[in-house]
């Protein structure tokens, strides 16, 4: 029963990560690809759009699959600690991919009657760097978790055994 519950939990989290790391960014970039403001077309270059979507999909898939293994593993197990750490590292790469794919400095062309009259650039590099800082603290926390699971392995097993025994008696 516990295995089925963990499997379902893994599936649910995988779906959540697919939505947040792939579907929402994909829909956002597709939505802003061509915007019309006061009769003026503001267009994201096709090549730039393709590059951003490629990196988001690549890392999104890796993160989502890792989320399945992380959340379907038993609580406080080394397996969970390992996958959680890998997932956080992938999250860092995912955020970093926004920078090297060009998504942190998105350039839109301003088009009036098929003629480029200029462009708008939105640079969110500082924001991404700040999120990277938050992720660094999360990596530290996951590293701490991993060491804790290894060092206190016996204690964790005893607590789990006691809990399982209590559940069995009741």
């Amino acid at each position: 029963m516990g295995a089925t519950k963990n499997f379902l939990k893994g599936l649910i989290y995988m779906c959540i990560y697919i939505t947040t790391t792939m579907v929402i960014p994909f829909l956002t970039f597709t939505w802003i690809k061509e915007v019309q403001v006061a009769g003026v077309n503001i267009v994201l270059e096709q090549q730039e759009y393709d590059r951003i979507i490629f990196w988001i999909s690549a890392f999104g898939l890796l993160i989502s699959s890792c989320a399945f293994f992380n959340y379907s593993s038993p609580k406080q197990s080394i397996r969970k600690g390992t996958f959680a750490l890998i997932q956080i590292l992938l999250n860092c790469l995912y955020i970093w991919s926004y920078k090297f794919s060009g998504a942190t400095s998105v350039r839109f062309e301003i088009v009036i009657e098929l003629t480029d009259v200029g462009f708008i650039t939105v640079n969110v590099q500082n924001l991404v760097m700040l999120y990277m800082g938050v992720y660094f603290l999360t990596i530290v926390l996951k590293g701490y978790d991993f060491i804790d699971f290894v060092v206190n392995r016996e204690k964790i097993r005893q607590i789990r055994y006691k809990k399982a025994k209590g559940d069995g008696e009741s």
Partner: protein
């Protein structure tokens, strides 16, 4: 609960609060930036009236340009490090051989940093350049070099850039090859 888990929960709660505040600031900043840049809000008016220009080639040191503008920061954060940049390119026909060959020359280039506009405040000013203050005198052709039987054509590039939302965003709007007419 083991003490190591209590420490972990404290760090996790701190991280959660930090991430939520950061996300709130980013979202609020994004929506607020849209209200500032929305053309229907008329908060950025460049130019705010007819620009005045004197492109008299016979007296380059007296050449001048004045572009009135006003910017209202209708967002919730301050607009910081605001810069306006203006370049003018002149297309003219050369008088000396080779006959009828046209040349492009940049005659004006100036960037002004207006600093910060606090939220809710209005900046009403002129972008101006007179003589050597903006005009590239060394590159401006003398009247002898220009064939006035062909019209002089002026193009302008204009850039507006600023940081927003505690410097988390920086945006730049660039209009290129804007015809100023002959």
């Amino acid at each position: 609960m083991r003490p190591s888990r209590i420490f972990r929960w404290i760090v996790r709660i701190f991280l959660l609060i930090f991430t939520l505040s950061l996300s709130a600031v980013s979202l609020l900043g994004g929506f607020s930036a849209v209200t500032v840049l929305d053309p229907d809000s008329y908060s950025i008016n460049i130019p705010d009236g007819p620009p005045v220009a004197n492109f008299d080639l016979s007296n380059p040191s007296n050449m001048s340009i004045f572009v009135p503008f006003n910017i209202t920061n209708v967002g919730v954060y301050d607009l910081t490090d605001m810069e306006l940049s203006f370049q003018i390119v002149m297309n003219y026909s050369e008088n000396d051989p080779p006959i009828n060959s046209s040349r492009l020359v940049q005659i004006f280039n100036k960037t002004i940093n207006y600093g910060n506009i606090l939220h809710g405040e209005l900046l009403k000013s002129n972008f101006s350049g007179i003589g050597a203050d903006g005009f590239i005198l060394a590159d401006i052709p003398t009247p002898v070099e220009v064939d006035f039987t062909h019209p002089l054509i002026f193009f302008a590039n204009f850039t507006f850039s600023a940081s927003y939302s505690l410097n988390l965003y920086r945006f730049e709007v660039k209009i290129i090859n804007l015809s100023l007419g002959p």
